[in-house]
Structures are given as structure tokens and as C-alpha cells.
């Protein structure tokens, strides 16, 4: 075999081993202890992470005497301030999901994994957890030493304290999640007096374990191996997408500082590995764009600080597109079809949601035609059909409606002589009959239009088209 392969075999082997030597896959066998930096992007990151304060504080917001935002699953009602969404309007949820999916796509195609780096709960919680870790155990070098060292009283104290705080945050995360689905204040009371539902305890338990494991233990491994977004976002890039990029034209060939100066013929990168040290996923941005990069831009902060110290211009690592690195003209946004398509879908979805929310209506009518039997012949020769009426009252007040029907001349509606009562936030059903003289019925099936009009407020209206069945 080796004889036939001839002289090409060694060369191929060299190449592949050279590649393998550089290609280090972070599989979690070594723990990433990122150095914490200060700077522009670090500050921005705290601000964007603070979006999650809404998650923690939102449920305690009150509105007209009740929880402002409440996803009341047992009663099948979603309250969002003055708006109450019933399951009948849940088609909007699909638009909301579409909106966020497209937002993710649009943002990713313009500026990369902004969601991952700045907004994702995994990033945010990990960031807070590692910040605490640094406060308790000290900088990365100390942390590694403590980790490898034997169990001492100090190690037990430090780790115990860290785990206790992590656990507290994890429980709080679980409680905050559940608080969106039940009365928040009542939940705290019930939870600690053992009266909350088993579902509440179960969900808090899951969230506690999940938060602790994901943010405390798995960290960047979740982005590498668990997260589906991390994988699909990567394919939304193109050459125009701006990402934290190492300017290899300027940086290479890299080399160490000599006597505090960058030697002649050497690039600006002084191989200080600060960009690697601060990376929360443990990658080297100088190897180019890679799946482990969550585009958190902390390497930009780290590199800029170094450039400032050695008297070089900032931006050796900066937000730039691949085209820009190759010296191509940057395309304006309106000439890039991908973001435009995303933005169009985004706008359509948003319009749909706005339309839905402003046209929720107050009343809905459903008419179910009786099937067994479809029609009844009466003794005077006329035909009778039976219908089940469902009046959905979407408001939070009871009211009455008048039901009418039209479609066949001379027909009579029985069962809706008196005003019909419509229970608040629910549907109320009634049984009505339509009787029509057989001489007036022209077809086997005649459309019938049912109408309800509010008695207290005639602006509350709804219609429903049903059928009147007759013998052939």
C-alpha cells in the first residue's frame, strides 16, 4: 500500500497533523477561567444583560389591582396590562415567534451573534456566576490553583460560599419564572409555607438544577454542544456580516515585544494572548471566525487596552466584515438582499401582531349545527334545524346580547327571545332552533347569518355564518 501511495503520502500526513495540532476542540476537559476586562464592550455587556432584570422584577408590577403581566394557564387567559388574550387569539403567538426568529436572523446577518454575546441568558447568567467566582476566589490563576489544590478549610469555605450564592440565584431564577404564571406575591408566600402547587415546586426545582448546572458547570459547553441557536446562527453569516475580527493584515507576522518595542518587520500583534485570556469560551480569535465565538467582543476590549499601552492604534481586533478584511468595498444595507428579506418578514409579522392586538374585539360568536338529525320535518310541513350557540365574552364584565338570524324569508328563531347573558372572560352556550316554511326553502343547504349585538353597548357585535339543512 505504502509503495503505491508514493511520495504524496508523507506530505498529506504532514499537513493533516499540522492542522490537528492547531485545531484544539474545547470539549470541557479543561475549565475555562477567563480573565475579566474593563472597557467599552464590557460596559455595554452589563447594560444589555440588565434586560434580564425585567424577568426578575416584571411579575411584581401591578396594574388596576392585579398582576400586570400574567400568563394564567388554568383559566386560559393571558393578561398584558389592559389587554387580555384568550386562547382564540393565540394565532398572534405564532407571529410573535416568527418576529423573534426573524429578528434573530436579521441581527445575525448584520452584526453576527449579537444575541449570544449580549442578550442570551446562558451568557448573562454565566457572566454573573463567574463575576461572583472572581469576587470570592480571586483572579483566574488563583482560581486554577484552588481548583487543583487539596481540600482545605479555606477551599471548603470559598467553594461553599460560592455554591450557596449560585444556588440562591438559581432558586430565584426558578421562582421568577413561575411568578409569570401565577400571582407573584402569593407564590412567595405559598412557596415557603409549603402550600404552592406541585407544578410550581417541580418547575422551580428544574430551573434551580438547570441554572446551577448550565451557568455554574457547563458554561461555554452549553454554547458548543447544547445550543441549537449557536449552530444555526453561524450559517446566517455572510461576507458582509460584521464580527469581532482580528486584522491579520495589520497583526501578522506576530511576535513578542523586544525591549518594549515592536521589532522592525513585525506586525502589531505582540502575541500577548490577552484576547485568549479574556475569552469566555476559550478560543483564539486570531484563528479567524469559528463556531466557539459568541461575538461578545471582550477580546476587542482586551486588545485595545494593550494597543493603548504599547502606543499603537486601537482596533487590531474590531468589528469588521470579511469583505473589509479582504479590502473590498462595504455594501450598504439596502443592497444586501438577505437582511432586506429578513426585515420585510419582520415588518409583516410586527404589523400582524399590532393588528391583532388592536383588533382583539370584545365578543365572538360560534354556531355549531346539530348533526343528528340534520333537520326535522314538523307536523305543519315546515323544517326545523337546531344550533348550539357559543358567545365568547372577551371583556372582564358580564353583559347581555341580542341574537338574530337571517337567510330564509319567513323563518323564525326560537330560543333567543330574551336577551342572552354572556359571562365575562368565558363562553356561554345556548341552544336555538330555526323553523322555516318548506315553501321558502329553495336549496338543500341555505346559508344563515347569525348576529349578536350587545344590549348595554351596541358596539359589541359579532356574526357567524352557518347553514340551514332541508330534505332534497
Amino acid at each position: 500500500m505504502s509503495e503505491n501511495a508514493g511520495s504524496t503520502a508523507p506530505k498529506y500526513e504532514d499537513d493533516i497533523y499540522e492542522e490537528a495540532a492547531n485545531w484544539h476542540v474545547n470539549t470541557g476537559d479543561e475549565k475555562i477561567h477567563a480573565k475579566r476586562v474593563t472597557g467599552r464592550w464590557r460596559r455595554l455587556k452589563w447594560i444589555t444583560h440588565s434586560v434580564w432584570l425585567i424577568f426578575f422584577l416584571g411579575p411584581y408590577l401591578r396594574w388596576h389591582g392585579r398582576q400586570a403581566v400574567l400568563f394564567d394557564i388554568p383559566n386560559r387567559q393571558f393578561h398584558i396590562f389592559d389587554i387580555t388574550v384568550l386562547p382564540q387569539d393565540v394565532w398572534m403567538l405564532s407571529l410573535v415567534l416568527l418576529f423573534f426568529a426573524m429578528l434573530l436572523a436579521a441581527v445575525t446577518s448584520i452584526a453576527g451573534r449579537v444575541y449570544c454575546g449580549f442578550f442570551c441568558f446562558q451568557t448573562a447568567w454565566t457572566d454573573v456566576f463567574t463575576w461572583l467566582e472572581e469576587k470570592i476566589e480571586g483572579p483566574p490563576a488563583k482560581r486554577r490553583k484552588l481548583e487543583e489544590g487539596p481540600w482545605t478549610a479555606e477551599k471548603a469555605r470559598k467553594l461553599g460560599l460560592k455554591w450557596a450564592i449560585w444556588l440562591a440565584i438559581s432558586v430565584l431564577t426558578g421562582l421568577s419564572f413561575v411568578a409569570w404564571f401565577t400571582d407573584a406575591f402569593q407564590l412567595w408566600h405559598d412557596f415557603f409555607t409549603g402550600q404552592a402547587s406541585s407544578v410550581a415546586y417541580g418547575v422551580v426545582g428544574l430551573f434551580t438544577v438547570g441554572t446551577f448546572t448550565l451557568a455554574g458547570k457547563l458554561r461555554e459547553q452549553a454554547c458548543f454542544w447544547l445550543c441549537p441557536y449557536a449552530r444555526i446562527q453561524g450559517v446566517m453569516y455572510d461576507k458582509e456580516t460584521i464580527l469581532p475580527t482580528y486584522d491579520y493584515n495589520r497583526g501578522e507576522p506576530r511576535g513578542r515585544l523586544k525591549k518594549g518595542k515592536v521589532p522592525e518587520g513585525q506586525g502589531d500583534c505582540i502575541d500577548c494572548k490577552q484576547c485568549v485570556a479574556v475569552c469566555p469560551t476559550g478560543i483564539d480569535i486570531r484563528n479567524g471566525q469559528q463556531e466557539g465565538c459568541i461575538t461578545c467582543a471582550l477580546c476587542i476590549d482586551a486588545c485595545d487596552a494593550v494597543m493603548e499601552k504599547i502606543g499603537k492604534p486601537k482596533g487590531l481586533i474590531r468589528y469588521a466584515s470579511l469583505d473589509e478584511m479582504e479590502g473590498k468595498q462595504r455594501l450598504p444595507l439596502y443592497r444586501r438582499p438577505r437582511p432586506l428579506i429578513y426585515l420585510t418578514i419582520l415588518t409583516l409579522a410586527l404589523s400582524g401582531i399590532i393588528y391583532g392586538l388592536t383588533h382583539l374585539g370584545t365578543i365572538e360568536l360560534k354556531v355549531l349545527h346539530e348533526r343528528a338529525p340534520l333537520f326535522v320535518e314538523l307536523s305543519d310541513g315546515s323544517i326545523q334545524n337546531k344550533y348550539r350557540i357559543k358567545i365568547l365574552n372577551k371583556t372582564d364584565k358580564d353583559f347581555h346580547v341580542k341574537l338574530t338570524a337571517e337567510g330564509i324569508p319567513g323563518m323564525t328563531l326560537k330560543g333567543a327571545e330574551k336577551p342572552l347573558y354572556a359571562r365575562k372572560g368565558n363562553d356561554t352556550s345556548y341552544t336555538v332552533y330555526i323553523k322555516a316554511p318548506s315553501s321558502a326553502i329553495k336549496e338543500e343547504r341555505t346559508p344563515i347569518l347569525f348576529k349578536v349585538v350587545g344590549i348595554e353597548d351596541p358596539n359589541k357585535k359579532a356574526t357567524y355564518e352557518s347553514m340551514f339543512f332541508a330534505p332534497k
Binding site: R371, E377, L378, D380, S429
Partner: protein, 280 residues
């Protein structure tokens, strides 16, 4: 073959296809945790729930859980929702129930099961009737469509009687004439109707008498509905209904339900039937 070292770790020494080797390294830790968690779960489950078959019985489990108990608990939950309605129905008379929209709707929904279990076999799932069993959805009632009459019909049952008219009473030609007149809704124009005494039960207007349960012969609603309606009418005239003297007589009997159903159940059924569409 004895080569046991491999760049990826120790192997068992077995090699397939010259290239495939079996490594001896441990399965991943998460996998082992999952394995142990699984058998612990099986153990806990086996102790907590009824699980293991014994010779004549099975282990009961320390939780005392049984499927029947869970079923009864769920049933009790449903009953507790129904209880306030059922209590009201038990106290009220049928007329008052009819006047209460909410109770009426409750019965229209929950009565479906009661009707399905007891009535639908003869009268059809929607009360539309079957050949030989009257429709309950139209406005043609043998004994009356008022709620009290319906209640009475269900409680005590009904059994009408029409003597056979074939043989000595009417010739086949006369039966033919009468049947045609009934079929065309013009029975009162047929002299035989009065002459042969039909009016005695069916009334001079041919509309029947509800006190007797005699049928209305002027409409197009047939008590004994058939493909060939004319032949069916002739048969009824010839052999009567529930006439003990004719073995070929039509049998039509509504059983009494007072000994089979509770008073509340009968009330619910009466309201349910009244609300099927023909109640008066």
C-alpha cells in the same frame, strides 16, 4: 493481533477489517450517572408503587396507590363540580328547571350521557327516532309535548292500542282506500274514516287524541316510518298496534323508567327530550 496500544487508548486487542478496534476506556461519566440513576429509579418505583407480581397477588407499594383510587378521586372531583346543579335539579320541578337557562344548558350537555345510555338505543343518538320508535325532535307528539306529559311518559311508560281492522272489519280494498287517503293527508275526505269508526279514536279532524295516544293522521310524520310508507300504513290498519288478538300486530311499548332511574335522572331526561327541539 496482540497490539493493545492505540493513539486513542487501550484496546481489547480485537481488530476488524484491519482498522476497527474496540477501546476499553470507560463510558462517559454522564452516561454512567444516567445508568445508575435508572436502576435507582426502578428500585424506588418498585417499592413505592404496586409493581411485582406474587403467586396470588402483587406487592402493594408503600404509597398505597391504585388506579381505581385515582379514578375515584377524579370522579369525585367531577361530581363536586356537578353537585350544585344536581342539588338544584333535585329540589326544583321540571317547569322551574325549564325556566332556568343555566340549568337547561347544563342538562342539554350532561344529559347526553343519560340519554345515550337509556334512550338512544331505540330513539337514536340525537332523538331522531328509528323505524317503529318515534322521533323526539319534531313537534308531533302522541301523548303531548308539554314537559309534564314527557315526564309522565318517561316515568310510567306508554303502551297505546289500535285494534286490528283487517279481516272482518275492512276489506283489502277498503284498507287500500283508507291508506291512500292517510298517505295523502286527506283522511277526513274519505267516507270510510267516519263510517268505519276511525274517528272514535283519531277524532273527526283526524289529528288524533293525545289523551289516548292516537296518532295524527293528517301530517307527514309517521309513527311507523318505512321505505314504502303506503305499505306500512296498510299493515298498521290491517293488524293494529298492540292488539292481543292478532299475532302479527305491531308492537309498540315505551317502558316505565321509574324503577330504573332516579327521580332526578328522569327529570333531567324530560328536560333533555323537551329541549331536543319539539317540546311545547
Amino acid at each position: 493481533m496482540s497490539e493493545k496500544s492505540n493513539p486513542h487508548g487501550q484496546t481489547t486487542g480485537h481488530v476488524w477489517d484491519d482498522t476497527l478496534a474496540e477501546l476499553t476506556n470507560q463510558p462517559p461519566k454522564w452516561w454512567m450517572i444516567g445508568l445508575h440513576a435508572s436502576w435507582i429509579l426502578v428500585l424506588v418505583y418498585g417499592i413505592y408503587y404496586p409493581a411485582w407480581p406474587l403467586l396470588h397477588s402483587h406487592t402493594k407499594g408503600i404509597a398505597g396507590w391504585t388506579a381505581v383510587k385515582e379514578y375515584k378521586k377524579d370522579l369525585a372531583e367531577v361530581e363536586s363540580i356537578r353537585a350544585p346543579y344536581e342539588a338544584k335539579i333535585a329540589k326544583m320541578d321540571v317547569k322551574a328547571i325549564l325556566a332556568d337557562n343555566e340549568l337547561k344548558e347544563y342538562i342539554s350537555r350532561s344529559g347526553k350521557v343519560l340519554f345515550g345510555d337509556n334512550c338512544a338505543a331505540c330513539h337514536g343518538s340525537g332523538g331522531q327516532g328509528n323505524p317503529g320508535f318515534p322521533s323526539l325532535v319534531d313537534d308531533d307528539w302522541l301523548y303531548g309535548g308539554k314537559i309534564d306529559t314527557i315526564l309522565q311518559t318517561i316515568t310510567n311508560g306508554r303502551q297505546g292500542m289500535m285494534p286490528k281492522m283487517g279481516g272482518n272489519q275492512l276489506t283489502p280494498e277498503e284498507i287500500d282506500k283508507l291508506a291512500n287517503a292517510i298517505y295523502n293527508g286527506k283522511v277526513t275526505e274519505e267516507p270510510l274514516f267516519t263510517a268505519k269508526g276511525c274517528v272514535g279514536c283519531h277524532g273527526p279532524d283526524g289529528k288524533g287524541m293525545q289523551a289516548l295516544g292516537s296518532a295524527n293522521l293528517t301530517d307527514k310524520i309517521w309513527r311507523f316510518k318505512a321505505e314504502d310508507q303506503l305499505a306500512s300504513i296498510k299493515y298498521t290498519i290491517a293488524h293494529g298496534v298492540n292488539d292481543p288478538s292478532d299475532p302479527k300486530t305491531r308492537k309498540a311499548k315505551m317502558p316505565a323508567w321509574k324503577n330504573r332511574l332516579s327521580e332526578t335522572q328522569i327529570k333531567k331526561l324530560a328536560v333533555y327530550v323537551h329541549e331536543l327541539g319539539g317540546g311545547q
